[in-house]
């Protein structure tokens, strides 16, 4: 029985970078040979979610949302547009524990394994730490360093903040960084006052956003005072109020994210064993250069 991976992401009518992480991770996974077939679909780009499943040849489809948290998109928009008879209760989630459920779409004769979003998978914690390592060019970063995990935050969906808090708690429990805080763009505690929340001289700031765009390249850098105009870029690190701020940009562009996508599908039962010689096992070693 052939299996396909379908990565579903938001995409954008305005920002070409929005779909780049989904494309890059799909290419990396394709190069790794873990799936017979890999496709992407988007809310704002093409193929649309509505047309997505018909583009897949395989009978078994593992649908992995490239979204940060459980909520409106994962519980309503994606299943509705994929024509899945899905209730949020099917996941039996506490807001960060959605795993997978198996459903039959109405427009094609296939079985869909609908997975929880990448953002709430436990492996995401490792991606955040990896991001801190890469932005500081220090594989042992932690001692004497503060880490801010930054989310969008919205009062309309409590799960949005839960996902951020979840990973911040897990990293704190590892006792690797001197301080770990969950901060938000649109709710308290706010990222604007990032230095108020840390005593450490060095603070790594990792935004849990899928793609780089207005929020991660302009909003947050400007709010934190890294720059007056994010369109002109910013220094890494930037000295603010006696702290060095190491701002990482959207987590979704991190190559290790491809592993989280794969883990989601594997958790749902996909056969993702590497073919032939596995090399060093890191999917990102096979990664194509992104544009």
């Amino acid at each position: 029985m052939s299996e396909a991976l379908l990565i579903v992401a938001h995409g954008s009518h305005l920002n070409p970078q929005s779909s780049t992480p989904a494309q890059d991770h799909a290419d990396a996974l394709r190069a790794s040979g873990r799936f017979d077939e890999i496709r992407e679909a988007y809310w704002k780009e093409e193929p649309s979610f509505r047309n997505a499943l018909r583009t897949v040849t395989a009978d078994e489809v593992y649908v992995v949302p490239l979204f940060v948290s459980e909520g409106y998109f994962t519980e309503q928009v994606i299943p509705r547009e994929l024509r899945l008879d899905f209730e949020a209760a099917d996941w039996d989630s506490d807001g960060t524990s959605a795993d997978h459920t198996t459903l039959e779409p109405t427009d094609v004769d296939k079985r869909v394994h609908y997975c929880g979003p990448v953002g709430t998978h436990d492996a995401m914690t490792d991606v955040i730490v990896r991001r801190a390592e890469t932005v500081t060019s220090n594989d042992d970063v932690g001692a004497g360093v503060g880490l801010a995990v930054v989310g969008h935050g919205t009062k309309r969906n409590e799960n949005s903040a839960k996902a951020i808090q979840y990973h911040a708690d897990r990293i704190r429990d590892r006792d690797r960084f001197d301080e770990v805080r969950a901060l938000f763009m649109d709710e308290d505690p706010e990222v604007d006052d990032v230095t108020d929340h840390f005593e450490s001289d060095d603070v790594v700031v990792v935004p849990l956003f899928i793609a780089d765009g207005y929020h991660t390249q302009e909003d947050i850098p400007e709010d934190m005072g890294l720059t007056d105009d994010g369109r002109g870029g910013y220094e890494v690190p930037t000295r603010i109020d006696g702290h060095d701020i190491w701002y990482a940009g959207a987590i979704g562009t991190e190559p290790l994210m491809a592993d989280v996508v794969l883990e989601r599908a594997a958790d749902a039962g996909a056969d993702v064993d590497a073919p032939e010689t596995p090399g060093d096992g890191a999917i990102d070693s096979a990664r194509a250069d992104g544009d």
């Binding site: 954008s12 070409p16 704002k44 780009e45 093409e46 649309s48 047309n51 018909r54």
Partner: protein, 373 residues
């Protein structure tokens, strides 16, 4: 002796031998018949027929009819077997023509257009098809001047920007960049590349041909919207569908999108603007239409009011010319010094200098006129 073993099946068996094996199940394809009976094999093509053949005589009989055998072999051994891909690849080479004629054409290379894509199919030795894919306007371009691609997944990155590097959120807008070629693709790779440029078009085209395209009309599509797009539902007020005609005229004309609009206001209420002449269908209002309709829904909640402006006849005509130029996307074409064109930049700047007040109001007439309420 080197070669294949029983555990390593020949990946590329001889077409005639493959046909002999398939004869047991019966073959009837593109004029070629092959069957196996108690008395032996039967082989037939339009102008020849053989019966009661031994296994070796069957192979001998196929000689001279290689075009039919290789044609059958390609479509059942090499072409992707999913219905939509198969139908698309068949369509490319106009399968209604007899096999010998088709083979002759394929030997020279035969082309089909799919939106702004030009597919060229040709046969190599043994009847295998290979494909080139390029922009239709690069049909006569020297390949040396094009960037050569072999990975079909590159297509979805090429389609992201137009020739000026601007983002293309709608893959089927008629603004595909030129200057590339996918060279010597196998049939599966060709389908992947075409789908990379125009996602889901092959599947929906095939569904339409099979009579089961699942069209979702305007009213049904906006009725399922939620979140920030839920407001579009309030735009249908049971007072006709002119607003949807205007949407389709604005967004879905061939000048804006190469899909052929098959959705209407609802099942019983067709729109009265053309759906376009595209090869592949559009089965429901896309996300760009819905997002734009959200803006219009808000704007159209306003009531019309009467403004008074003093304009010369030329100035009124000029405002119309500017709207036309923007709507037709031809502002870049207006020559710097062509002041005969109302949408010329100097003309527009003069009109603004003369007729706008410091707050940008046309003829000094405020947009919001509270006294008139």
């Amino acid at each position: 002796m080197s070669g294949t073993t029983a555990t390593d099946p020949d990946p590329d068996p001889d077409p005639a031998e493959a046909l002999r094996t398939a004869a047991a199940d019966g073959v009837d394809f593109d004029g070629l018949e092959a069957t196996r009976h108690d008395d032996g094999f039967h082989l037939a093509v339009p102008d020849a027929s053989y019966d009661d053949l031994s296994a070796s005589a069957f192979l001998d009989a196929t000689r001279g009819h290689e075009a039919y055998v290789e044609n059958w072999f390609f479509w059942h051994q090499h072409a992707p077997q999913d219905d939509a891909s198969w139908a698309f690849l068949r369509w490319i080479e106009r399968p209604d023509d007899p096999v010998p004629e088709r083979c002759e054409r394929l030997a020279d290379g035969t082309t089909r257009e799919w939106g702004q894509l030009l597919v060229e199919a040709r046969t190599d030795e043994g009847g295998q098809r290979r494909y080139d894919l390029r922009h239709v306007d690069d049909a006569d371009a020297d390949v040396a001047t094009l960037s050569v691609h072999t990975d079909p997944t590159d297509a979805r990155r090429i389609r992201k920007t137009d020739g000026n590097g601007r983002y293309r959120p709608l893959s089927t807008a008629p603004t595909l960049a030129r200057g590339w070629i996918f060279d010597d693709l196998d049939p599966t790779a060709l389908v992947r590349a075409v789908e990379g440029f125009y996602p889901a078009t092959i599947q929906n085209w095939h569904r339409e041909r099979a009579g089961d395209l699942d069209v979702a009309h305007w009213h049904e599509t906006i009725s399922r919207q939620t979140g920030i797009y839920g407001v579009v539902q309030t735009w249908d007020r049971g007072e006709g569908h002119d607003h949807v005609n205007w949407v389709a005229e604005a967004c879905c004309a061939d000048s804006q999108c190469l899909k052929r609009r098959e959705w209407e206001y609802d099942e019983e209420t067709p729109l009265n603007v053309p759906g376009g002449d595209g090869v592949f269908p559009c089965r429901e209002p896309c996300s760009l239409v819905i997002a734009t309709a959200r803006r219009w829904t808000r704007m159209e909640a306003e009531q019309a009011r009467t403004y008074e402006f003093d304009l010369t006849p030329s100035e009124k005509a000029q405002i119309e010319a500017i709207i036309d130029a923007v709507a037709d996307g031809r502002t870049d074409e207006i020559r710097e010094a062509d002041t005969s064109d109302g949408a010329n930049r100097y003309r527009a700047r003069y009109l603004r200098a003369k007729r706008f007040d410091d707050a940008g109001n046309l003829c000094g007439v405020p947009t919001e006129n509270d006294e008139a309420e």
